[in-house]
């Protein structure tokens, strides 16, 4: 008897007021020879069905590590999760057995990676790789699974899908490869889709097409979408809310409009100011001073204080909690009012 995910997880609707996916006070550490890298230090966020959460931050901010923790694809060791919960429909994924976890992965929570060329297996045809989902998880025959693969390739708008289903990943363009990646991830209608920098490796024009495709697929299926990116420009049109991460913590979360109206954290403000704008043509582009923090040796107090223009003495010593600004908005800055007023 093959176990299905229904055996280990509550069925639809059985999770009360809980959002679809809730990350709660998550900590992730990597034990390396140089010492302990604290990559994620108490991150919490939620995604509901049909909602898009954009997680924003530079590389090393812990945004991808959080995503990998949700998927359960961190390498353990060196990674360790000492604290926190990841609740999917009310069930803490971290407490599930590996077998139960495997049933969630790919079927209920799926993921798209940044570089589709290296993320797709070079020695299998794209059709084989997509249809594997149906063969392994749904027990379909090869022929039926392949038929489903063609349908999916049509759905993500790969031209001449029927002819190209037996091609290998390297025979596709970057944008088409990312579409294949997407087709594979939505194959089993997951309830949550995590897209880790899905457009970073692509040309600007292709980037827009991929984002459009993701938004459209989400509208059709009402998935919860977690969009991980370092590019504020990408998220403006598609995200419902934004969580900004810095040094393994969320420094600001808010509905997308609020953030664009006025950021409540100096780091978010820095990110916004460093976007090139047509109306400020000719002026010097703003850049956040200093370097990202060393995760082996985080600054005391607020991790952002060495780079912060709003810094006061207590920033060096006191770690700012996430202040609630409104029901849907928070900022981890002692001086969020000043930032918001600027």
């Amino acid at each position: 008897m093959k176990k299905t995910s229904a055996d280990v997880l509550p069925v639809e609707g059985g999770f009360g007021n809980e959002p679809l996916l809730a990350v709660d006070n998550l900590h992730v550490e990597f034990h390396t020879r140089q010492g302990t890298v604290r990559a994620v230090n108490g991150v919490s966020y939620t995604v509901s069905a049909g909602e898009t959460l954009a997680v924003l931050g530079e590389s090393g901010s812990g945004k991808s590590v959080t995503a990998q923790a949700i998927m359960g694809i961190l390498d353990v060791p060196p990674a360790v999760i000492p604290k926190g919960e990841i609740r999917f429909k009310g069930t803490d994924l971290l407490k599930l057995t590996e077998e139960a976890r495997t049933q969630v992965r790919g079927q209920r929570v799926a993921m798209i990676f940044q570089d589709a060329l290296s993320a797709l297996n070079p020695v299998f045809t794209v059709g084989w790789q997509i249809s594997e989902m149906f063969r392994v998880h749904r027990g379909m025959s090869k022929a039926d699974a392949m038929k489903k693969a063609v349908e999916l390739m049509d759905r993500v708008r790969i031209p001449a899908a029927r002819q190209r289903v037996n091609d290998y990943p390297h025979q596709f363009s970057g944008g088409m490869r990312q579409r294949i990646m997407i087709a594979m991830s939505i194959a089993l209608d997951p309830e949550v889709l995590i897209a880790d920098e899905p457009t970073t490796a692509l040309d600007v024009t292709v980037q827009a097409q991929i984002m459009e495709l993701l938004a459209e697929l989400q509208r059709e299926s009402q998935m919860g979408l977690i969009l991980i990116t370092h590019d504020l420009g990408v998220v403006a049109d598609v995200a419902d809310k934004i969580a900004v991460m810095y040094a393994g913590r969320i420094v600001e979360n808010a509905p997308v409009h609020d953030i664009y109206k006025g950021p409540a954290h100096p780091y978010t403000k820095g990110l916004l100011d460093s976007i090139p704008r047509v109306d400020l043509k000719g002026q010097d582009l703003y850049a956040i001073k200093g370097l990202p923090p060393n995760l082996l040796d985080l600054p005391t107090g607020c991790a952002f204080h060495p780079r912060c223009p709003y810094r006061q003495d207590n920033c060096v010593t006191d770690h700012p909690p996430l202040h609630e600004i409104s029901g849907t908005r928070g900022s981890a800055c002692h001086y969020w009012r000043e930032v918001l007023d600027d």
């Binding site: 694809i73 495997t102 969630v104 790919g106 799926a110 990676f113 993320a119 797709l120 297996n121 020695v123």
Partner: protein, 314 residues
């Protein structure tokens, strides 16, 4: 695929010509009298020497000499004649099978033991098993065939027979059928087993770090399927090509093993001819073995294209 095959075949031609030319230069064109060398310590009768000189076209210009040699090799499979005027190709006829059997036995052992140990080590990376396997490869690499051959012959062949009374590993000749190749096969494969173990370990460990392995895990596949299907299929590519190339290498390396275990193959013939200073036979056999070696490498290149689609559609 077709274009790749054709390109590889064309690329092999200069190598074939170059390698035979190199052999030719070493034997016939370097300073010194090749006829005197043919006879070694014996002093040839002047009349005989003249006949041989004529037979090897030594009175012709060098390039023409080479042409006679290479056209003989490629067009008529003529690898020269012995002093007794027996064609070398005829001399090798029955012996080829013995050497091929030995090399294939070695190859099978290599594949089973080498790949097996390598996978085991890779999956236990950093643990005691891994360390022990690595240490044993070091030992296998360091003990020359010359040593392992005699030692295993004595211990597993002779002594074991004395103790148990059963002839588990026959140690000389081929009368025992395939079992006769067990011990020599292992000795011949020795260092290759070690290299294949290391290569397998590195290859699988490297493959398991690849992005597409993470993707496979994220697809919700079992660990068994992730490693066995997605990992192994990629990790196997360098292993298969190594094994293919090694077949030619093993046939060339059989000379010492065949001599120790007294297997009547090409290697043993080569050993005896070197010892008896039958230079024409030596040249003939070396040429045959080098051609086999080049051919095996060519086949491997084509195999590589079958295994790796990125090359097939280059």
């Amino acid at each position: 695929m077709g274009r790749y095959v054709i390109r590889r075949l064309i690329q092999a031609i200069p190598v074939l010509i170059g390698a035979t030319l190199l052999i030719f230069v070493i034997v016939f064109a370097l300073p010194g009298d090749p006829i005197a060398a043919l006879f070694g310590d014996k002093r040839p009768d002047p009349a005989v020497a003249e006949v041989l000189r004529e037979q090897y076209h030594l009175n012709d210009p060098l390039l023409l000499q080479y042409w006679y040699y290479i056209s003989g090799v490629f067009l008529r499979l003529d690898f020269g004649v012995t002093f007794a005027d027996v064609p070398v190709s005829e001399l090798l006829l029955g012996k080829f099978q013995v050497t091929l059997n030995l090399a294939l036995m070695a190859l099978v052992m290599e594949a089973i033991i080498g790949v097996g140990l390598g996978l085991w080590a890779a999956l236990r990376r950093g643990k005691a098993t891994d360390t022990a396997i690595l240490a044993s490869t070091l030992l296998l690499i360091s003990v020359p065939t010359l040593v392992s051959g005699f030692v295993l012959q004595l211990i597993l062949g002779v002594k074991l027979k004395q103790w148990t009374g059963a002839d588990i590993f026959p140690v000389a000749g081929t009368s025992a059928g395939w079992r006769a190749y067990l011990l020599p096969g292992f000795v011949l494969a020795g260092t290759s087993i070690a290299y294949l173990t290391r290569l397998t370990r590195t290859s699988l460990a490297e493959t398991l770090r690849a992005d597409y392995i993470r993707t496979a895990t994220a697809k919700g596949l079992s660990r068994r399927r992730v490693i066995g299907r997605h990992g192994l299929r990629n990790a196997l590519i360098p292993l298969v090509t190594y094994l293919g190339a090694d077949l030619g290498n093993l046939m060339g390396g059989a000379v010492i093993t065949e001599s120790i275990f007294n297997l009547p193959g090409i290697g043993n013939q080569l050993f005896n001819s070197v010892y008896l200073r039958e230079q024409p036979v030596v040249v003939g056999i070396v040429t045959v073995l080098v051609l086999i070696y080049i051919l095996a490498n060519l086949v491997v290149d084509l195999l590589y294209a079958v295994l790796d689609p990125r090359i097939r559609y280059e």
